[in-house]
Amino acid sequence: MIDLGLYNYWIVIALMMSGLYALIARGNLIRKLIGLNIFQASVFLLYISVGFVRDGAAPILAPDVESYSNPLPHVLILTAIVVGVATTALGLALAVRIHGAYGSIDDDVLDRQRD
């Protein structure tokens, strides 16, 4: 028997921080959005880990099953995934528009243009 303990949460934090680092450190706007998406995925994973019940079944009612995982985090995260992709689409559209107006999507290049 492997006792998961808080293992899932450690990995969630590591993922969250690597996503945040990519968001801060990389200049390219598409790379920033990828970092944001990794950050998002780590939050999804946090909620799904909270909802997990060991030896429970997926929350689809069946006659001879007694223990299910918690369905509520699943619902919240379903909504969050779809909203997340809507945010990504808007961010990418902004990047395309910035590229159209300034000819670059690199933060540093855009900074230098302003100076």
């Binding site: 293992y7 450190a25 995982s69 809507a86």
Partner: protein, 179 residues
């Protein structure tokens, strides 16, 4: 036993793929590995009993999001990327914040216990009553479409707003046309 083992292995794989996405050279490689990242994520959701979330993540995360990024890359790619260097301010921020989070999660109950506080509140009611009240075997669908239908309405409003924003941004007049 085997479920926990798969969970441990997939989580390690997920972290490695994420680091690969962030460190990869070239935007195309980053976007394609991000698709793989979403797929590993979907596999992990299945081992954590969230089958509906896994479907959505595979279709929307690995499918639609990757496709949108590729489309954006097509329209504004080709720019040489500056080679990544260590961003010390970002690194310190991330390490401090990560340390605080690790310190904070020590109080959380272990993953997977059936009597965790998260499972005591409204979830048992959904599991016990939704079969007779709504009549759909899939509890996630019952909650999504019926008990928390207003959430889903709000979600649709957000998607509509985002779609409107994308349309306005991309169909608007370009600066050179305005002169």
């Amino acid at each position: 036993m085997i479920e926990e083992l798969i969970d441990v292995l997939l989580l390690v794989a997920l972290l490695l793929v994420a680091l690969q996405v962030i460190g990869s050279r070239g935007l195309l490689a980053a976007i394609m590995t991000f698709g793989a990242f979403s797929l590993v994520c979907a596999g992990l959701f299945i081992t954590l009993d969230a089958v509906d979330v896994a479907f959505t993540e595979a279709a929307v995360g690995a499918g639609v999001a990757t496709l949108l990024m590729l489309a954006a890359l097509r329209r504004c790619g080709g720019e040489p990327e500056e080679s990544p260097r260590v961003h010390w301010g970002g690194l310190v921020t991330v390490l401090v914040l990560g340390g605080l989070l690790v310190w904070g999660i020590r109080d959380l109950p272990p993953v997977g216990l059936a009597d965790n506080p998260a499972h005591e509140h409204v979830a048992p009611r959904y599991l016990e009553q939704s079969g007779t009240e709504i009549g759909i075997p899939n509890v996630v669908t019952s909650v999504l479409a019926s008990y928390r239908g207003f959430d889903t309405l709000g979600e649709v409003v957000v998607i509509f707003t985002a779609g409107l924003g994308v349309w306005l941004l991309l169909s608007g007049r370009r600066p050179e046309e305005e002169e």
